[in-house]
């Protein structure tokens, strides 16, 4: 179970506003997060990962307190180890596809399997600049999965994939999520496309 209760001041073009979310996510659930641009969807994911600090709040993941503004507890992202798929992919330009995965894990069997899932086996010696947008996005997903995260945070993870590739990847991811027992939060601008994958939804306005 993941319990989140946070409050964060946001600066937007429309002025200042408060992002306030209180919600429990059952272990193993897959939740789509949607809402208008600038609502704070990405900030919400970054708060959970420990990359952004809220003014106030508490995050408890599977019984471990990650954040408690009252007691002053705030685990760094390195301790939280939440898998994170960034909207801009955040791939490392100096590393090849394989090196990205080797940077995250030393389990070669797992790397081989991930490469197969992402259909990147033949491109494993290529650097991101030589990959298409869709290939880069798949690599970003594989890198986040490489650490076998119990909590996976995905920010627009399928936006650059064609319909066929998306379907194939989602089918594979379903199996992986179940196998890892991961709880998954997916930010999307197109909630309908994730109906098949997700078990619940969260609207951030």
């Amino acid at each position: 179970m993941i319990s989140i209760d946070i409050e964060k001041n946001l600066k937007t073009y429309q002025g200042k506003r408060v992002l306030k979310i209180s919600r429990n996510f059952p272990a193993g659930s897959i939740t789509k997060i949607y809402g208008p641009s600038g609502a704070g969807k990405t900030t919400f994911l970054k708060i959970i990962a420990g990359l952004v600090t809220p003014e106030d709040g508490k995050i408890v993941v599977n019984g471990t307190v990650w954040l408690d503004s009252v007691t002053g507890v705030s685990l760094p992202p390195q301790k939280r180890m939440a898998g994170f798929v960034f909207q801009d992919y955040a791939l490392f330009p100096n590393m090849t596809v394989r090196q990205h995965l080797e940077y995250a894990t030393d389990n070669t069997n797992w790397i081989t399997r991930l490469l197969a899932i992402g259909k990147l086996e033949t491109l494993d010696q290529h650097r991101p600049e030589y990959l298409s947008g869709g290939q880069q996005q798949r690599l970003a997903i594989l890198r986040a999965l490489a650490i076998r995260p119990k909590l996976l945070l995905m920010d627009e993870p399928f936006s650059a994939l064609d319909a066929e590739m998306k379907q194939a990847l989602i089918a594979e991811l379903k199996i992986i999520f179940k196998e890892l027992g991961s709880t998954v939060l997916i930010v999307t601008h197109n909630p309908q496309e994730l109906d098949e994958l997700t078990t619940s939804g969260l609207l951030i306005e």
């Binding site: 990359l51 760094p76 992202p77 390195q78 994170f84 490392f92 100096n94």
Partner: protein, 224 residues
């Protein structure tokens, strides 16, 4: 036959200064690149000062600060038997301070231009700040790192005022090439002055052109 020891001394000084600035300047540049504070602004201003300060002014204050007759210089002499004035160590210290902006400013700027999500992605994979700096950030600012190193090296080759003030012109100890050129002209020995000048000119030209070539190669489009 022209005495080439000032050339070797200059190259040794430039190499040591560049190495020290790589070791100490890179973490400083990294620290400065992350966030803003009053202390960081003040330190950055101090680091940038040698760019606008006349070298003789910097040399003068270093001479006063490290004079064995007073203050820090006296304490260093009495406690550690170390003397910076009129010694090679003094040249290294002066060159280090004088060349700091050439190393730190471009590296800091390059680090700031990297997307913040690069470091964030590394942290979420469990990597420490240091691992992220070494494995992700530094390799992705290679052109700037190379440019900063070459500029630091080349700038040290050309130092005159600051090294003259703190080091004087002691053969094989502090008489670097730029000072040897000046001494030779004063002695009307234009042949030696020309030899030193020509060697410095060639070395500097090769270094600057290598920066342009390296950066051109790095910026090459994958479609070329």
């Amino acid at each position: 036959m022209t005495d080439l020891s000032p050339i070797w001394l200059t190259l040794k000084l430039a190499a040591i200064t560049t190495l020290l600035l790589l070791i100490i300047g890179l973490p400083v540049a990294w620290w400065l690149s992350r966030g803003r504070s009053v202390i960081k602004t003040i330190i950055e201003a101090i680091i940038t000062m040698p760019l606008v300060l006349p070298p003789s002014v910097l040399g003068f204050y270093l001479l006063l600060a490290f004079s064995p007759q007073r203050g820090v210089g006296k304490w260093l002499q009495q406690t550690f038997d170390v003397q910076f004035v009129f010694s090679f160590k003094g040249l290294v210290l002066a060159s280090f301070i004088y060349s700091m902006p050439f190393m730190i400013a471009p590296v800091k700027s390059a680090l700031q231009q990297l997307p913040t999500t690069l470091a964030q992605a590394s942290y979420t994979l469990g990597k420490t700040r240091w691992q992220t700096f070494i494995k992700v950030l530094l390799p992705n600012i290679k052109p700037s790192l190379f440019t900063a190193s070459v500029l630091t090296f080349a700038h040290t080759l050309g130092e005159f005022g600051v090294v003259l003030m703190i080091g004087g012109s002691i053969p094989n100890v502090t008489r670097v090439a730029s000072i040897a050129v000046y001494d030779s002209v004063e002695r009307m020995d234009y042949a030696s002055a020309n030899t030193y000048s020509l060697i410095l000119l060639c070395i500097t030209f090769i270094m600057v052109i290598s920066v342009f070539l390296f950066n051109k190669y790095q910026a090459k489009s994958p479609l070329d």
